[in-house]
Symmetry: C2
Subunit: 368 residues, 2 copies
């Protein structure tokens, strides 16, 4: 293999595929990047077998070929080279020679034959979604996936399509986040994507409105983003039937300014996190919402104007859980729907049904 | 104590004095900030007994007084409040009441009586130095202080004045950095300042050319920077007689572009750090400087044009030690003076005698 390639473009491509490589792999070949030069393109691949990232970049192919090269060192070297053409030459013993200006590096590589195959794209099963929409779907739900492995299926988010709607759903037992958007999709699917995959997809997506092509089969999903393909295993198992949890009845509905509420909660959290249970109490009556929290070192009292329909309520939350949902909402005002202080609170952007956040209250002892 | 103060100004002042507070203190009162309100000023103090930082800010003093309040929580609360006037009220039981807009906090404080006294300023023993000059003196030497405690005196930098010159000197046994500048100073002094103190001074100094007033006695030094005072204990013991180490004789003198040399060394270091000893070899002959380094995974060869007077040489260095000195130099070109591959290499900016960096070579076995 022998190619000429621009430093800046190769460097950018390495940054992308390195997101697929785990530093803790037990299989030595997986700590490498697969390089394949063919027909004026250099294809780079990184994988930890759960997730795989393939990205390609234009190059001058003098001789086609392939090699696996240690990701960290190769990436560090390319990033440190000046922004000039780089010549990469691989001999039959998998020794890589890199030349750029007056810099020359020799690196020992491995044969590409032993590198695992990533799943291929399934042209029949796919739909397209704008990049910025996918980005906001991920951002508004991913934080509500379970962090612990007691129910492995909940460490992922459910991607569900039906009637030209696409939903992404995350539940961790304390809260639930659902984002539902309209997208042209012909087939009903229901797959659970690992949170780690969605995180990497989110990092790779740029903030424009080009389309992402999502294809899938029973075991795998592929995100096709311009010159980059992200493939991932799906999680196996039955996801919670989340639609049963979101009830539409309520006894009170309170509207409040999103950012003001967020700031009050953030300040109250400063004391809540000193306590054992991260507890904030919310007292809604008439036109006021009062947040209080106590800890050994002091207490806090925050007040906000609200628009209330229905009963007064005193209710308590884990401040982290309620705050993360509020922070995920961009619209100016939110509404909270509640039944009682032992039923879930449902939070939605006002006049926007695309996002629903549900959070369980904390039951207080009689004397609290 | 009762005051009104602007959120932004109080917040800025807290950020400064928190640099003096250690998170690992064993004396509970030292995890607090001392607040003293008097005559339209609020004075804040943070200390870990080694270093002390005092900063003051204008306020409306409704009632004079003082309190010690937990630094972390108090700082977090003030930073999270909106940019509005804050009213702080302390009762006779050291309970602090904070009100800002619709936010109210109560915090339990401690009596200021138990807070340690910082050393006072010694008006007779002082000199003044421009801020930017002090900043560059610290930046160009501090990295060469010893990191381990086997010779405690070397964990600090020597501040020496004589004949209207001020020098700052750091040595760790492998390299030596000296910055010497002209400053109007009447008395000869020789004190060793802990590296930690210099680091904090460096962070607090803003990048302008106002003067810093440095005053001292046998055990303490005080940096007076505008509204902020930084006091520090000095290190006790005899510093190395560094001037004996810097010889002026040489067998070769090589001039090289500073940033090009730095970039070549940084690339070579990528492989050097994979090896056991972080070794880079430098081969100087005619008009070329060649840097090489080997490790199990590969090797590197970098070439640079130089202007050489004197003998050729093959010499080796710990890449970290030579690189840190080069990075500290701002001028376009440096010169390296050497005697042999077992004598120290002296590096200076070309046509600038204010800075000297000396680094020991690594002796190579016969077969290397």
């Amino acid at each position: 293999m022998k190619i000429k390639i621009q430093q800046r473009e190769l460097s950018k491509c390495i940054n992308i595929v390195q997101k697929g490589i785990s530093s803790k792999t037990t299989l030595p070949i997986l700590s490498g990047i697969l390089l394949e030069a063919k027909e004026g393109k250099l294809k780079l691949t990184g994988t930890d077998l759960e997730i795989g990232i393939k990205s390609s970049v234009d190059c001058e192919t003098i001789k086609e070929g392939s090699i696996v090269i240690t990701s960290r060192i190769f990436g560090d070297i390319i990033r440190k080279l000046p922004d000039m053409p780089i010549e990469i030459n691989v001999d039959e013993n998998n020794n890589m020679h890199i030349q750029c200006g007056n810099s020359k590096f020799n690196l020992i590589g491995q044969s590409a034959i032993d590198y695992p195959q990533l799943p291929e794209i399934f042209e029949s099963n796919y739909f397209e979604i704008p990049k910025d929409l996918l980005k906001s779907m991920i951002r508004q739900t991913i934080f509500a996936t379970a962090q612990d492995e007691t129910r492995p299926i909940l460490t992922g988010a459910l991607l569900e399509t039906s009637n030209n709607n696409v939903s992404l759903v995350a539940i961790d037992g304390y809260r639930l986040a659902v984002k539902k958007v309209s997208v042209n999709v012909s087939e009903d699917i229901k797959v659970v994507i690992p949170a780690k995959t969605l995180n990497e997809v989110n990092k790779i997506l740029e903030d424009d409105d080009a389309e992402v092509k999502i294809s899938y089969n029973q075991g795998n999903i592929i995100f096709n983003i311009g010159d980059t393909l992200i493939t991932s295993r799906l999680l196996e198992g039955q996801f919670l039937n989340y639609s049963d949890i979101i009830r539409n009845e309520y006894k009170l509905k309170a509207k409040v300014n999103t950012r003001d509420f967020q700031e009050c909660l953030e300040r109250a959290s400063l004391l809540a996190r000193e306590g054992k249970n991260n507890l904030v109490k919310i007292d809604i009556s008439d036109d006021k919402l009062i947040i209080t929290s106590n800890s050994e070192i002091g207490n806090v009292h925050e007040e906000l104007p609200i628009k209330l329909e229905g009963n007064d309520i005193k209710i308590a939350f884990n401040s982290k859980y309620i705050l993360e949902g509020i922070k995920a909402i961009d619209s100016e005002e939110i509404e909270m729907n509640m039944i009682s202080n032992v039923n879930p609170c449902i939070i939605r952007p006002v006049e926007d049904n695309s996002y629903t956040y549900l959070v369980l209250p904390v039951r207080l002892a009689a004397d609290e």
